[in-house]
Symmetry: C2
Subunit: 220 residues, 2 copies
């Protein structure tokens, strides 16, 4: 079948761009994602077993792999899904703080508390995200863009962000992911994660002119 029929071959239903999914396909995809989240909530990364996802979604194993070409793809897609929800939820109650840094810290701590409610699910998604290799880059990138959007939203800027602010946001994202991992693997407490987030969020006020920087006096 070699010749470039752009629609079907290279990318199954999983790809966001090419193929318009039929009704039933869209339903299958949603069923799979739902099952994935359910199993992950129960027992984390290891509890999401491809055979069980397939069976519990009423789909053959081969079909599952056509929709999501690996377990990591599946879990990263699950994270995309959950992040969408989170973004909308967070949008409904914008942060109450004044300084952009404090606003971002407040928002991320809200997100963190949401994750604490389903720690196993968080474990599965974050482990998949950091374990993903190059073949998952596009999907991981989508998650990254979503996270960036959440942070920029929280900052509540008037205009577009400056390059320095974007750098700060990148670093905040790094810290966010890595701090989550240390918490999930039991090497950092919730309080410690809070401190780390608040620490890194100072970078934002550093790059935001015209606001009151209360830099704490060098003692303490």
């Amino acid at each position: 079948m070699g010749h470039m029929t752009t629609e079907s071959k290279a990318a199954g239903p999983a790809l966001p761009a090419s193929p318009p999914l039929t009704e039933r396909q869209e339903a299958r995809r949603r069923r799979i994602l739902h099952t994935s989240a359910r199993l992950a909530s129960r027992g984390g990364f290891d509890a999401v077993q491809m055979r069980e996802v397939a069976e519990s979604s009423g789909v053959a194993l081969g079909t599952l792999y056509r929709y999501f070409p690996s377990k990591v793809h599946l879990l990263v897609a699950t994270m995309q899904d959950q992040l969408q929800h989170l973004h909308e939820t967070l949008r409904k109650r914008p942060p109450s703080e004044e300084d952009p840094g404090a606003r971002v810290a407040q928002t991320l701590m809200r997100a963190f508390r949401a994750l604490q409610r389903e720690p196993h699910l968080a474990d599965a998604m974050v482990r998949a995200l950091t374990f993903a290799d190059r073949s998952v880059s596009p999907e991981v990138d989508t998650v990254s863009r979503l996270t960036t959007a959440i942070i920029l939203d929280a900052m509540g800027l008037d205009g577009p962000p400056s390059p320095e602010q974007l750098s700060a946001v990148r670093v905040i994202e790094h810290t966010w992911h890595s701090a989550l991992i240390t918490w999930l693997s039991g090497r950092a407490s919730i309080a410690q994660v809070k401190i780390d987030i608040e620490t890194v969020c100072r970078l934002i006020d550093l790059t935001t002119p015209g606001r009151s920087h209360h830099r704490p006096p060098p003692s303490a």
Copy 2:
């Protein structure tokens, strides 16, 4: 890397603290770690296959698992090993910069260039590190302490670090790990990693009194 390390127990067979290893056992352990690094250098995480590590180290599979209870344990131990080397190498040429933040950034970029020489090895070690679950926490913690030591060394402080400085170091570590991951998975360029590191290292100068902060004026 002599035998004079004050602590060789941290990764004995099975138990963290108990048994003094015999000559042959120490040799086996080193052979295994060497094989692990060699295979990882060739093809990254996936190329380190437990059967091949065992065979190529002249050791039975069961013995390999007695020394390192999982592939992740093995690779994290490999990272410990490599980090020791790196720490000593970096120590020989302390950074030339003035400000602590710039010194740390310079040191981390040197470390980064070292990793670039063996990107597959870096991939294997970093993926193992972030994929590690609770059962590997002690070993991962050791790696974290080593990294902290490298950064504190680079800062070149006179006295002990302040709590604020320790927080900044934690955030730098987070950024370091996460930036490495984005680079390894092809989602960030080398230049981008450099920017991220330099950005986060400003946090250090923020918390270091009595130095020249050239904070950029809140320009237009």
